[in-house]
Subunit: 250 residues, 2 copies
């Protein structure tokens, strides 16, 4: 497999950085090709904006989808979006490594989604889900949380982890990825000098390695397909439960 690991953490020596290194190391040992992109090292500009498209007529109103499509069609997507999207298209698996901040990815990763999942090139109104342009590829989130697992339940302080991850996972599914179950390292906090903290983090790294070794065995999450929606954009009654599309309360 060709694997792309996208790291979104402002401190390269953080536990998120270690998890990204663990993914790269483990997958390399298994014989895969691995590339790691560190969005902070690249100072990736998270803001989709007119200033990325210098050749556009400056007086025209800036429309994100129209601009992305025309830039892609004309081969003038801005860097580093163009090269990142090339690598995404060439990958069999992408792994997004990030901490959960405010029930969502850090802005730098949200901006990566806003800018790299280019309209026209990765999806269109008729090319979504199992018809998306990135079908045939897998994606997986690997995330860390400060709160413990019990707080990410449907009745926990931080909400059901499946709902917290839903916007990001749904976005990947939208453009065609098969989304593998996320790896969630809960409770990543505490003093690294404390042996109990070190043992917990070490346990996460080991469990993540084991997960990476058996990626082939994992069934993707049960998101709906194009044909599961009717002409009004509603799930057909016969489409099945899709309980990971919108997770029920309990």
């Amino acid at each position: 497999m060709r694997v792309l690991v996208v790291l979104a953490h402002p401190e390269r020596r953080s536990f998120n950085g270690q998890m990204a290194d663990r993914a790269a190391g483990t997958l390399l040992e298994l014989g895969h090709e691995v590339e790691l992109i560190d969005l902070y090292e690249q100072r990736f500009d998270a803001r989709e904006a007119a200033w990325h498209y210098p050749s556009r007529p400056p007086d025209n109103a800036f429309d994100v989808q129209a601009e992305q499509r025309s830039a892609s069609d004309e081969g003038v997507l801005p860097e580093p979006v163009a090269s990142m999207l090339d690598r995404v298209e060439q990958a069999d698996l992408i792994i997004l490594q990030f901490p959960i901040w405010w029930f969502a990815p850090p802005a730098i990763l949200k901006g990566w989604i806003d800018r790299v999942l280019v309209y026209g090139r990765t999806y269109s109104s008729q090319l979504r889900y199992d018809r998306g342009r990135l079908t045939g590829r897998k994606a997986m989130l690997s995330v860390t949380t400060g709160g413990g697992e019990q707080t990410f339940a449907h009745n926990g302080r931080n909400g059901d982890i499946n709902l917290v991850l839903w916007p990001t996972q749904m976005s990947l599914h939208y453009v065609g990825f098969e989304v593998l179950p996320p790896y969630v390292a809960f409770g990543v906090s505490g003093d690294r000098a404390d042996p109990a903290t070190r043992a917990k983090l070490s346990g996460h790294l080991s469990a993540y390695s084991e997960r990476l070794v058996r990626l082939d065995e994992l069934a993707p999450l049960g998101f709906p397909k194009w044909a599961d929606f009717d002409e009004n954009g509603r799930l057909r009654p016969e489409a099945g439960d899709h309980n990971l599309f919108i997770r029920q309360r309990a």
Copy 2:
């Protein structure tokens, strides 16, 4: 009231820009003080990062919460975060105006949350929800969607709008805001030269004005309070349904 409108759209002439202007105009007419912050005009850097804290020891590992707290304690929060947070603290109501991109706010607004809701100053482990430092203030989302209202149902293509907005609204609640019901302008798409499109957008502007006139009558969303959680971060059974905390399927 003192009102702060935060606009997050890359095109000032967009419908989001018009909605922000409508809020400012209507609230001014009602006798309120209004300030509008255009995040794109300011080229607000969405990325929380070590480079915003030039006086920190550069060899220390960068820890977001520790850095935010110490910068706030020492009065060295970076600009424009410091002045934006001052304005948030002085406001009685903040309105966040943005389009939904990928089931979430644009990265520039997620970064505003990541950076401006400063740890230590707006919340801490013991100061959250109704104990958050920004209690006594109201917040409201005003959003636009491309998809129609029917697609934002629990069984729609785009998911329950309450779940899509949950991470952002929960973040505001987390630091103490009373969160008013959102104003959602569904189906903002189509050719502006088309009379039907223009009528739809005009209808949204009128409905939004009516909403703004009766803000005082609106009950805030039913998020849990500090005392509703037990020591494990789970909602107590007697805490009530809180169906807008995590919305049930139907």
